[in-house]
């Protein structure tokens, strides 16, 4: 995918569904409707704030079978680069946005005998669509949803209403925690585990699954990571010799797009490998933030994921094979 791909949509409806979480319903501008999608998919939303263009991925949490509109939920995080703040404060009913076609890095594994889903906070979003698809297809599943408090738990009531005992909720402020060890030990062979939520929670679940003897093939996760804020530095594109400045809250990918180029990307979260770029030379150490390259590849400084990684210090100069 490149920056030139996109579907034009209009915000048909917004709703505050929980503390700091806003739901938006997006409908296609013009006729034709939107394609059905696979549960777990996300869309990359292009946000234009004056001159600044940010692209953030959001899980599609509406019904996968609803061609008349897509739904996303945005958690407002003030420490971010501003994308979520923009979505909360500047995007309202009637606003127009460009979104990508659905892309899925967190798909259902339909070979599974059972699907065990663990959500934390805003990580509930992919599961809202996945549970609907699993229910429609008659699959066996259970969902465990941890939240800071009931006020923070978007969609908990809706999910409990739809799926009854298959959904369990846990509120931190009531000291309710998922009895993860017991939960993992009790699953029949052929169960697949899915986890999405804060990175600490994902790390905890993955470690527990490993300790419980679950093979990697049965464990799936999606991290909602966005590019970190860092120091300003400079990039040079080897093919055109273009020199581009990267601002602190801008990713290399965004800086290159702002300069009018369209490098390949897909997840924009350092997970899929599509934006992997060869490093010709660099005057400074690379701060890798991806989950795709190996430790050796990170150490070699020959490759960089331009959607999330950057140079460590201010003023560095990196030449990319683009």
């Amino acid at each position: 995918m490149t920056a030139s791909a996109g579907i034009r949509v209009r915000v048909a409806e917004t709703e505050t569904v929980a503390k700091d979480i806003k739901r938006l319903r997006l409908v296609a501008v013009g006729t034709g409707g939107l394609p059905e999608f696979s549960g777990g998919a996300h869309t990359v939303v292009t946000m234009r704030d004056g001159e600044r263009v940010t692209r953030n991925p959001y899980s599609l949490m509406g019904s996968p079978y609803d061609r008349s509109g897509y739904e996303i939920s945005v958690l407002k995080t003030p420490t971010s680069r501003g994308g979520s703040v923009f979505m909360h404060d500047h995007v309202q009913t009637g606003s127009e946005l460009t979104i990508s076609a659905p892309v899925n890095f967190f798909p259902i594994d339909r070979r599974a005998r059972r699907h065990l889903m663990i959500a934390g906070g805003i990580g509930i979003t992919p599961f809202v669509a996945m549970t609907e698809q699993l229910a429609r297809e008659g699959a066996s599943f259970e969902l465990h949803y941890a939240m800071r408090s009931a006020a923070h738990g978007a969609y908990a009531d809706k999910l409990k209403h739809l799926y009854g005992g298959r959904v369990q909720t846990y509120c931190d402020d009531r000291q309710q925690t998922i009895a993860l060890g017991r939960l993992l030990d009790g699953q029949p062979l052929g169960t697949h585990l899915y986890v999405c939520g804060p990175t600490g929670m994902i790390d905890w679940v993955l470690a527990e699954a490993r300790r419980a003897g679950w093979p990697n093939e049965n464990v799936h996760y999606e991290r909602f990571s966005s590019p970190p804020i860092g120091q300003p530095f400079r990039i040079e594109l080897a093919a055109s010799k273009a020199i581009i400045d990267v601002a602190p809250e801008q990713s290399i990918l965004e800086a290159i797009e702002a300069a009018g180029f369209s490098p390949n990307f897909l997840c924009r979260g350092g997970a899929c490998g599509q934006c992997e770029t060869h490093v010709v030379s660099t005057t400074d150490a690379i701060d890798h933030h991806d989950h795709f390259l190996s430790a050796d590849e990170h150490a070699s400084a020959q490759k960089i994921m331009i959607c999330v990684s950057r140079l460590k210090n201010a003023g560095g100069h990196i030449v990319l094979d683009l």
């Binding site: 995918m1 394609p35 059905e36 696979s38 076609a101 659905p102 899925n104 594994d109 339909r110 070979r111």
Partner: protein, 354 residues
């Protein structure tokens, strides 16, 4: 549209042949006088009017004959159509793709009306008029992939995407160039391509896999594959190889022009919406040497391609026994004149370049 469906056979008396317009629209694969293995993927965008690339799914004069031959192959060997249990959602995705394409691009032959989940499908050439509920297998006479596969030209494979790889977990394959669906079901991308010589070292399949893993909804791609066969036989499967394999040794200078065929596969790849799987379509086209040589550019180019073909590729494609006899017959059409770049016949009505 004026598509006249022929009544011809792909076995026994082999009455298959191409009309003059079918010859001109044949997807000739060689854009230069030499063949080099490449992934050669391009966007599957609408091609020139009248060409095999005009529509997403190509239906041609051989439609009814192809479907009759498929039915015979499936009756003799049901294992040519298989679907692992987890692929049902992908099967429905495929049914939607084919029905919407066929009805949109050939409205005089196919019609699809949808009222929510209640679908009504009409296939006039095959005399089918069926109402069913999309997503409910009980409302179709056979599972979705088999149902629509028996009504659409070309083989279809459904590839499940998981663990950073693609898995051939379903398919309806009755016109393959010598690979077994039953054997390959369940294999990963590099596993099912394992027998292809030379390409693995060049990293061709690593790059192809990476590209396909990121295939986007609404942005299908295509490529061409080619081989040759003796007799216009669609079912050149390993399963029946012991029945047709000896044909390869039966080519003589007297029969080569009518027996030896160029066989081209137009392969399409689409991302599917509900299953996130990929459909890999393999649409086969056959042309005998006598028909091909009526296009002067192709008559010059093909002998040049065959004479310079690396031996490993000739062996893998099964050509060695009749390759020289074919070159000998074709060489009378090669006057040494230069050939224009690209695949089109010199008088094919291409849209004017702007």
């Amino acid at each position: 549209m004026g598509l006249m469906f022929k009544d011809e056979t792909y076995r026994g008396d082999y009455t298959f042949s191409n009309s003059p317009s079918a010859i001109l629209r044949f997807p000739f694969p060689f854009h230069e006088d030499r063949y080099r293995y490449a992934v050669n993927i391009e966007p599957h965008l609408p091609g020139p009017k009248g060409s095999a690339y005009e529509f997403a799914i190509d239906i041609d004069e051989h439609y009814l004959s192809d479907m009759r031959d498929r039915a015979i192959t499936l009756k003799d060997d049901p294992l040519r159509c298989q679907s692992l249990p987890h692929m049902l959602t992908a099967e429905w995705d495929l049914l939607e793709l084919l029905m919407t394409s066929m009805s949109k691009d050939y409205p005089e032959h196919f019609a699809l009306t949808m009222d929510g989940d209640r679908w009504h499908w009409i296939n006039r050439p095959m005399g089918i008029d069926h109402q069913f509920t999309f997503g409910d297998v009980a409302t179709l006479p056979t599972p979705p992939m088999e149902y629509i596969g028996r009504q659409c030209q070309g083989d279809f494979c459904l590839l499940d995407q998981r663990d950073g790889d693609l898995w051939m977990d379903a398919g309806i394959v009755t016109s393959q160039a010598d690979w077994s669906l039953d054997f390959d079901v369940g294999m990963s991308f590099k596993e099912w391509h394992a027998p292809v010589p030379m390409a693995h070292e060049a990293g061709v399949f690593d790059r192809a896999l990476k590209f396909l893993l990121n295939l986007q909804l609404g942005k299908p791609v295509r490529r061409l594959n080619w081989t040759m066969s003796v007799n216009p036989r669609l079912d050149t499967s390993p399963e029946t190889y012991h029945l047709w394999g000896s044909d390869r040794a039966s080519v003589t200078p007297e029969n080569v022009a009518d027996k030896v065929h160029l066989r081209v596969e137009l392969q399409g790849l689409w991302r599917l919406p509900r299953s996130n799987a990929i459909v890999f379509s393999i649409r086969g086209y056959l042309i005998k040497m006598r028909e091909l040589a009526t296009v002067p550019k192709w008559g010059r180019r093909l002998p040049r391609v065959l004479s310079t073909l690396p031996p490993e590729i000739a062996t893998y494609k099964g050509l060695t026994r009749y390759q020289q006899t074919t070159i000998d017959w074709l060489s009378k059409f090669d006057d040494g004149q230069p050939t224009s770049p690209g695949v089109w016949p010199d008088d094919f009505p291409l849209p004017a370049k702007t």
